[in-house]
Symmetry: C2
Subunit: 367 residues, 2 copies
C-alpha cells in the first residue's frame, strides 16, 4: 500500500492512506513562497506550484523559517551555482504533511526540524565534493509554505523549543557544533575565542562553549553586542574595529586553546598569533575575504591546527540536537518577521544589524 | 658511590668509578670543535674547553655529525636567539664517554644517537614555549669531538646503521616522522605529496611514506632530484620552478590526502588547492617565506587540516627509531666531509646542492 496525493483545480486535497488504513484528508490554500526572481531583486511573496513528495521524500508544512548570511549573498549574486527564480531559506521547522513512501508515514503530523544539507555523503570528515547541496539553492528552500526534502533530513523538534526557536537552529546550530565541538574539540576549562559575536553561528558557539564550561571571549563590531555576549556568559570581548584589537584581546585574555572564526581576512594572522601552542583555529567562513598575508612560522612553530569546517554531517546534526536538549538551550532570536515582510528580514540580515537569528513566521500558529 | 672525573694539565684522565667498582681510565687529546665566531664567518676548527658531565648528563664522543639548514641559517645570522661563539650541529652519533650520575653509568661505551631537542616538556602536542631548545644554539652542538647532553637525550644507535648513517637521522628524521606520521597520520594506500625533495626531512618522509605503502609524489627545483626520488620509490614529481607546476602536478597525480611542506611561501595556496577534501597539509617550515595571499575558502569548504609541525617529542624520536629499524631504512647520504672541511660542508648546504644528508666525520673509525 502506498501513500497517494491527489490534486484538484482550486484546492490541494491530500489523501494519506497509511498502513493503518486511516485516511487523513487536509485542505490547503495555494502554496505561497518568497521568490527571488533575479539577483539584487527583493523577495516577492507569490504563488508557486504545489509539491509532491517522491519516494523517500517528505513534504513539511513550514511554521517558521530562519535567515542565514547565505541567503543575503545569494540575493546579491555572490554565491556559487546561482539560479533564478529560487526560493531561499535553509532553516525551517514545521509539521510533516505528507510522505512519498509508506515507510515514512509514521512521520505524518510530527513536529520536525529540517537538516539543511542534501547529499553530505558517507564520509564524516567532509561533504561530498560533487553532490553536496544546502537547502535553498539550487533546491527551493524554506521560505515557503511547504518544503520537500528527503525523509532522512527530518528530525523531531526539541520539545523545549517553540517552532520559531527550533527554526533558528539548523544551519547555524550544526555549523557551530561541527566547528567548535567536533573540529575544535573544545574541552571544559579551556579558553575559547569566538569572533563576530551576534551572528548565528557565533552565538550557538557561545552557548555550546558555556555548556562545556569554557572561558569565553568574543569580538564584535559593536560594544552593544559585546555587552550582550557577556550577559550570555562570555568573560569579555573587544571591538574588532579598534586598530589594536588583537593586542587589547591579548592583554584582556592572554592566548586561546580554541578560536572559532567565520571572517578570515587580514584578522586571520592575528588569530594565529593569539592561539596557544598546539591550539586549534577553526575557520568556517571568510566574510572578510582572504588574508593578504600570513606568518607561516606561527603555524609550524606553535604546532597549530588550522581546521576548516563547513556545515555538518547528519551525525553532527543529531549530536547538536542532543546537546541543545541536554543543555536546555534556547536559540537567541533577534526578530521575527511576518511572511509578507520577508524582504525586510533580508535587509536586516544584509545590514548585519542582528544579534541572534532573524526569523520569518510562515504559518501562524499558537505554539 | 658516584662517578668522578679528574682533569690534569695536558691530558684529560677520566676515572669512571662505576657501581661494579671497576675503574675505567681513558686518555683524550685536547678537544677540537668547529667554531662559528660570528655571523657570516667560516667555521673554524680550534681547541675548546673540555666538557664535564653534570648530574643526569652524559658526554658523548662524537664519531659523525650531520648538517641541517638550521646550521646554515645561524651562520648567516638568520635565526632567533643568535649568540657567538657557538659550536653548531644538532645531529650526532658516537659513544658515551662519561656520565655525571652513577645511575647512567651503564651507558658508558654504548653506541648512541642523540635526540637533538632540549626541554621539549610534558605536552606531546607542542614543545615548551619558553624552555625548548635545539642542540647547536644556544648550547654547543655536535660539530666537536665531545658533546654534553642530558642522559635522557641518548638512544641506542640502530644496529643496522653505521655511525655516519645514524648521525644523519636525528633532527631531520624526527621532524619528518612527526610531520608525516603523527601530524599527517599517513595511511597505507593514501596519496602523499612531499615538496622540496632532496632535503633531509623530505627524504625521510619519502622513506616513511614508502614503508607505509603510500603513493608518493614530489616536487623539486631540479629534474635530477625528481629522478632520484623516483628511484627511491616516488611515483612521479614536478619541478616547482615551472610556472604551472601545480597544474602539472594535478594532471599527473590528481589531489592528495596528505601534503608535507617545509617551504610555505606563495606555493602554499597551490598546496591547499591540491589537497583533497578533508586532507591534511602539514607545514614544518617556511624556507620560501610567508604566503602573500591565501584563498581561505579552500580551507573551510574542503574541511582541510593545516597542521603545523616542529621537530618532535622524545616519544616521537623513540617511535621514529623503531620505524627505521622495522623498515631497515638507511638514510640517504649526500657527502661525508672530513672534520677539517666543515666549512665546505656548510657551503654545500648553503647552496642547496645536496640530495640527502651532508655529514662531517668527527672521529675516524672503522665502523
Amino acid at each position: 500500500m502506498q501513500f497517494r496525493q491527489i490534486k484538484f483545480a482550486d484546492a490541494k486535497i491530500v489523501f494519506n492512506l497509511v498502513q493503518t488504513n486511516v485516511w487523513s484528508v487536509c485542505y490547503n490554500n495555494f502554496m505561497k513562497a518568497l521568490v527571488l526572481t533575479n539577483k539584487d531583486q527583493p523577495l516577492n511573496l507569490q504563488e508557486v506550484d504545489d509539491l509532491i513528495a517522491g519516494p523517500n521524500e517528505v513534504v513539511v508544512k513550514i511554521y517558521a523559517a530562519a535567515l542565514n548570511h547565505r541567503d543575503a549573498w545569494i540575493q546579491k549574486g555572490q554565491y556559487a551555482g546561482l539560479k533564478y527564480p529560487i526560493v531561499l531559506g535553509s532553516d525551517g521547522c514545521g509539521v510533516v504533511d505528507s510522505t512519498g513512501s509508506e515507510n515514512d508515514s509514521q512521520w505524518i503530523g510530527k513536529e520536525v526540524i529540517i537538516y539543511p544539507s542534501l547529499n553530505w555523503g558517507n564520509d564524516q570528515s567532509y561533504q561530498h565534493p560533487q553532490n553536496f547541496k544546502i537547502l535553498g539553492l539550487p533546491d527551493n528552500g524554506t521560505f515557503e509554505e511547504y518544503v520537500k526534502v528527503p525523509a532522512s533530513n527530518i528530525f523531531l523538534k526539541p520539545k523545549h523549543l517553540s517552532f520559531e526557536e527550533a527554526a533558528a537552529l539548523p544551519l547555524a546550530g550544526v555549523t557551530a557544533y561541527r566547528a567548535l565541538m567536533k573540529r575544535g574539540n573544545l574541552q571544559n576549562g579551556e579558553k575559547v575565542l569566538i569572533t563576530g559575536i551576534g551572528g548565528g553561528v557565533a552565538l550557538y558557539a557561545l552557548q555550546y562553549a558555556k555548556h562545556t564550561g569554557a572561558d569565553i571571549y568574543v569580538t564584535s563590531g559593536t560594544e552593544e553586542k559585546i555587552a550582550k555576549a557577556i550577559s550570555l556568559g562570555a568573560s569579555g570581548g573587544v571591538n574588532y574595529n579598534n586598530e589594536n584589537w588583537a593586542a587589547e584581546l591579548q592583554d584582556l585574555a592572554g592566548s586561546f586553546d580554541v578560536i572559532v572564526d567565520g571572517a578570515s581576512g587580514d584578522g586571520l594572522d592575528s588569530l594565529l598569533n593569539l592561539a596557544k601552542p598546539g591550539g586549534r583555529v577553526v575557520l568556517y567562513g571568510s566574510t572578510k575575504g582572504n588574508p593578504s598575508s600570513l606568518v607561516a612560522r606561527r603555524i609550524f612553530w606553535k604546532q597549530l591546527n588550522v581546521l576548516g569546517s563547513t556545515m555538518g554531517s547528519p551525525a553532527d546534526f543529531r549530536e547538536m540536537i542532543d546537546l541543545v536538549e541536554q543543555g536546555n538551550m534556547k536559540p537567541v532570536i533577534d526578530t521575527v518577521f511576518a511572511f509578507e515582510d520577508g524582504e525586510l528580514a533580508m535587509r536586516r540580515m544584509n545590514d548585519s544589524l542582528q544579534f541572534g537569528k532573524i526569523l520569518i513566521r510562515i504559518t501562524n500558529n499558537t505554539k
